[in-house]
Every structure is written in C-alpha cells, then in structure tokens.
Symmetry: C2
Subunit: 436 residues, 2 copies
Amino acid sequence: LTEEKIDEFRENFLALHAYDQARFYMKVGPDIRRTMYHFLSPEEMAEIFEALELDDEEVQGFIKEMDPTYAANMLSYMYTDDVVDVLNELDKADRDQFLKLMDEETAEEVTELLGYEKHTAGSLMTTEYVSVQENSTVRSAMNVLRREAPDAETIYYIFVVDENHRLTGVLSLRDLIVADEDALIRDIMNNRVVYAKVTDDQEKIAQIFKDYNFLAFPVVDDNLVLQGIITVDDIIDVIDEEASDDYSKLAGISDIDDIDAGPFKAARQRLPWLVMLLFLGMLTATLMGQFESTLEKVALLAVFIPLISGTSGNSGTQALAVVVRGIATGEIDEKSKLKMIFREMGTGLITGLACGLIVVLVVFLWKHSMMIGLLVGTAIFCSIFVATLAGSFIPLLIHKLGIDPAVASGPFITTLNDITSILIYLGLATLLLGQL
Amino acid sequence: LTEEKIDEFRENFLALHAYDQARFYMKVGPDIRRTMYHFLSPEEMAEIFEALELDDEEVQGFIKEMDPTYAANMLSYMYTDDVVDVLNELDKADRDQFLKLMDEETAEEVTELLGYEKHTAGSLMTTEYVSVQENSTVRSAMNVLRREAPDAETIYYIFVVDENHRLTGVLSLRDLIVADEDALIRDIMNNRVVYAKVTDDQEKIAQIFKDYNFLAFPVVDDNLVLQGIITVDDIIDVIDEEASDDYSKLAGISDIDDIDAGPFKAARQRLPWLVMLLFLGMLTATLMGQFESTLEKVALLAVFIPLISGTSGNSGTQALAVVVRGIATGEIDEKSKLKMIFREMGTGLITGLACGLIVVLVVFLWKHSMMIGLLVGTAIFCSIFVATLAGSFIPLLIHKLGIDPAVASGPFITTLNDITSILIYLGLATLLLGQL
C-alpha cells in the first residue's frame, strides 16, 4: 500500500462487505493498518469495527495504534452498544480520554450505557432506534424513518411512545408500508408490546428472541420510558456465549473461546480446575486408604474400581447435562423441579438395574465367581442410582440458591461420584469379606 | 369455551402474540383444541403453528385431531419451510394425503423442499421471498413489495434476479426507502451478494449469519438460480440445536431436549451410551487384571487409581472440549490443525508437570514415601500428557475422516484415558516393584 494506490485501494476495499473488510484488517500487520487509518475516514473505519468481535483484548491494541482524535471520531460514528464494548476493553484513563474527545451527545449516551451491569439488557442495548409519537400519521412516520435510516441500527421496527417517551406500542416497517398514509399510528400500532427492563438478564432476553422470533426488542426503565433496543445480531452472540459457557463448565475449563492462545495461556486456563479436582481426588485416595486392609486381602477388588467409578461418573454427567440445559433453556422451572427429581430417581433405578444385571452376568462368566459378580453388580446399581440423583439434585439445589447451576461442573460432579461409588463398593466388599 | 362465547374468545385470543397463542394451544386439552379449530380459521391456526416448535412428535397428534381439509388448508397458509417441518413428522401416507389436499402451487414447492437432505440449506429455506428484476425501478420494486408483503417471510431484503431468475444482487428495504424512486435497481443494488448452495450444511449457514449479521440469506442451485431464502429466526434454532448437540455428546447422551420424557424414555436415551461405556470399562478391568500380582504385593497402589484416572479424564475432556468447539465454530481449520496439536502437546507438558509436582509433594508429606510419591507423580505427569494429546488428536483425526468430531464424546475419551493412565501407572509400578 503506497500513497499513489490510495484510490485503487479504496475502490476495491470499500466494495467488500464489512465483515470481509474486518477480516482483512485483522490479518495485516500494524504497518498496513496504520496506512489504512490514513486511507479510510473514521466513518469508514467505524463500519469495520462494527464487524469485529469487539469483546476481545486485541481491540485495545488497535485503538492504541490510532491517533486519539481519529479513534474518538470513529467511536462517534459507531452504534452506542458497540462503543460500550470497545470502551470496556480499555483502562479507565483511556476510556475517559476518549469520552472527552467524542461527540458530546454520543459520549453522554455511552456514559449512561457504561453504567449498566454486564450481561443485563442495559449493557446490550443501543440507543440508535426509531421512535414516533402515537398521534402522528403514517406519512410523517415514514418521513422520520427516512431521516433516521442512515443512523438507526434497525428501521424494521418503529417504537411508539407518548409525550413522556413512555413506550406504548410497536409497529413493523411492514405494517407501515401496507398502511394508508393518512392513518394514525395509534390506530395501526400493536399495543401488546413485549419489552425488557434495563436490569433483565441477557439469558432471559435471548429466550424471548427465541420464542417470539423478533428482529429487535425495546428496553425500558421502571417508568416504562423507552431507553434503547436490542437487535437480533447481538442476541445471536449472547446465545453463542451462553451455550459456550455451559459447554465449558461441563468440560471443566474456564474459557473455551481462546483457540489462538499459546500453551502457557491454555495451561493457565485449565490448571485451576485440574488442581482443584486433584485435591478432591486426594480426598478419594484418603477415603480409599481406610480400605487398604480389605484391598490387601482381595487384590481382585481393585480391578473393578475404574469400571465402577467410570460408570457412576458417566451416569452422573448425563443427569447433570439434562438438568443444567433444562434450567438454561427455561424448560425446568420451579414447578417442574420436584417432578424432575422423581423422574431422575426413576431413570437412575432403571439404568442402574440394567447395568447392574449386565455386570453380574459378565463378571460371573469371566471370573466364575457369583460372589464377586453380585458385589460388583450391586455396587454399579447403587452407584448409578446415587450418581443420577446427585447429578440432578445438586444443580437444582444450586439454582435454588440463586447461583448459576453450571458451576456444578461436569468434573466436579464426576469426582464427587467417584468418592460415593468407591465408598459404596469397598464398603460392601468389607461387609462381605467373610464370603469372598 | 362454548358456542356463544365465540366472539369474546376470538377478540381476546387474536389480540395475543402468536407465541402466546401457541402456548395456550399447547397447554389446553384435545377437547378445547377441537373447539379452537372450530372457532379459528385455517389462516389464523397457521399463525399459531408457525410459532410452535415444529420438529416435535406432538405436532403429529395435533394434525390428526383436525379435519384433514382444515389441516391441509392451514398448511397452505404456512410458510413452506414450516410446512416441511410439519410433514417430516408425519408418516408417508399422511404426508401424501395432505399434499393432495393442499393448494397445488404450495404442494409443488413443498414437495421440492422435502427432497432436500436434512440439515442442508435446501431443507431450511422457504420459497416465500421477494424478488425483483434488475432492470426495474425503485418505484415498481416498492409496488412488488407492497403486493407481496402479506405472504413473504421477510420483506427486509429484496433479491435481485436476471431474466433467467439467476441471483445477481441484493437490496435491503432500507436502501430502497432512501433511494430515488426513479433509480434503476441495477444501479443501487449490492452485487457482491453472499449466498449458499442448496446442498450446504446448516452449520456453515449458521456461521455466515454469525459473521455477517444478516437477517436473511439467499440460497441458489448450481446454476445460481435463486431457489429460496433462509431467515435469521430459523438460524437461531439451528445455532441452538448445534450447541445442544455438541453439549449432549460431551455428556454422553443422545437427546437432551426432551425434558418432559418419563423415566423409561430417559433411561432408553441414556442406556446405549452407558452400556457401551460399561463394556469399554470391562476392557479396563481386564487389562488391570494383568497387574493383579503387583496389586497383591502393594495394596496401597490401588488407593491412587481413582486419582490418576480421574485427573487424566479431566485433562482429556478439557482438550476435547476446546478442539470440538474450535472445529464447530470454524476457528480450527486445515491450516491450524497441526499448530493446535503442538499447542496441546505444550499444554499437556505444562499441566502434567505442575500436577505431577504437586502430587509428589503431597504424597510424600502424607505417606512419607518418596518412592510412592515419585511413582504417582510420574504417572500423573505421563497420563495428563497422553490424555491431553488424545483429547485433541482424536477429534481432529475424526474430523479429517469427514465425521462430526463430536462423536468422540466426552465419556468415550475419558474411558479411553482411564485405560492408558492405568496402564502407565501399573506398568511403572511393576517395573519399580523391587524398590517399593
């Protein structure tokens, strides 16, 4: 990229979709990026930034490469929800500097948005929406729309407000287009409008989008005054993030998204879980130590330990996964919790019985000892029952206490079930020792 | 609901959002549903059906409650992609009967859509889109739009075609609204249009929606002839489904969505995995049987088995989760696969070393035996390294073979790692037996 090529670059580059521009921007080195700041206006750069994954550490580096005035200008052209994402990646001093350099009105709106807690509707919403008064006509609403179209994040929903800017209805552009030009907005709007409060959790918002198939969604304060809107593209990111979060918890890992991290960073993300579970595993070893004399007498017993603890771990994880997802999707609510526990008790009994019988049979055929077969089979039956119950009961209990049930991660439940299954097995074995 | 209340019911019910109507419809019994078929027109019922989760067995029951002509009429009013979902739940005879009773044009379109394989763009798309010729004016395009608005699934994108119905561009309603009425579509359209082929996998489509933030997206055949569109609400369901699928595989469970299933159904879903893993666990027991004499000599060895196999299981699952999600989101591609394996080797070394050292120290302090400490520590180090490598290498290999990497489920990898970690541990112990 040289000075003479500026026109050629602009022509080819600006014809690309913003996402492809963003990919190019991410791939090139800092030198070419600096030339790009020179070749492209802050407004053009704003479109690239809106196509980036903004909740990423790299963004901080990009912003610092730019001239502060250029960066502040770019931020002024971006949708306020995206500006919030960028500023959240910077430290406080930089954030304040940019807010001072930015266009005053935008800076004020952004400051307000920055005040909302993470993962709430307030922190997700943007203030660039189209609103009309309920007593205006379709014609005047269309004019508002044309005027605001270049700046609004979506023009496909028009939000209707009263003189105090309280939300009273909603209208799709589709309704507006097929309506008579002289009709009053009040008469054609939908007044059963679904909305969220600024403090609502993002998981709740995502569920509403999934249920109602909205493209955008209004957010109000306690007095029903319209504060902003949330658009479906932001919600797709939330759905992805929540699913990824449940998934990582099931795998016992803090942050799954960072594919590019080096081995040290990856190890740092995984070690806290591993070490915590290691100490829990030591507890298992300590408890097993109590049975050392039993194990000394019948060494064959040890051979079945991984089978029993593995099976109990598997059934516990299955129950855990069903319950955690059920809570996350809202399918398990207060009323169905008790039903769920009874269901899991039944499931534990059935799967335990089936696996127990298989084991009795196989061990008998293999070791020709009915005693060992019955012991291992009974241990499997009991362990599966207890593990299934623990896998469903613990996340429900944690949820009841107001904590995200996904913290009862897969490996945690598995290690817990290791302990109970081994206690059951070696306890039974010790009781039966005379018979073995 | 009695005959006299028909007007009152219609007034209250039709004021509800379709999703809330659908919730009511799902909650009431078959008697009230039959009255609803009487009170509501097929067109009104179609809106309720579009708000239901259509890929569900219950749908079959609902359809069978209706008079076949009423049901066929209702299907004719629905978007073709939703009709496909409903018909896919019916058996062939019923499907053919409804296709005969349906409006001929819709039936033809639906038959074509039914021919596409599941999880492809073809099976997701709808044929109710708005298209205009590239040589028409903005004014005439707006007229097409007004005419088609009541039937189209989205009017926010207008797809531009040539005389052979080949896709040549795309235009948002926003572009159209701010354009001069006499402008030619050809001159204002975006001709760098992103599209999918009918045979493309739904996961690829979901990724495009996430990257580009589209609300709708055209699907073409091999000759670039426009066949249909996919809308963002359907993609949200796909994203949810894919995430749920990865999640269930990690937990070793076939179908996680069915929260309402009774204990027998739940057990049937979980048993195939449990039993398969049980037999894999028997293999572990058989292999351990080879070390029975070692275990007989030093019973203390058995005490550390759950600790070692548990830790190796945990680190394997962590690596697996990172790689499976990385492949699913497209962040790991052909080029970065090798890099990924080296990264995981490094991560395995670091986490293995850290956990190994902790164990040496703790076991030494607890059992006052440097020998046992070194043995268990070395086994933990080797197991973590092998488990991390297996957890990343196996899904990458499976993916290379063209199979969904999620089939390398969590419990499968864990059981495999049980085997290797125990072999490592007891193998080392047998070698060192003279020293113990």
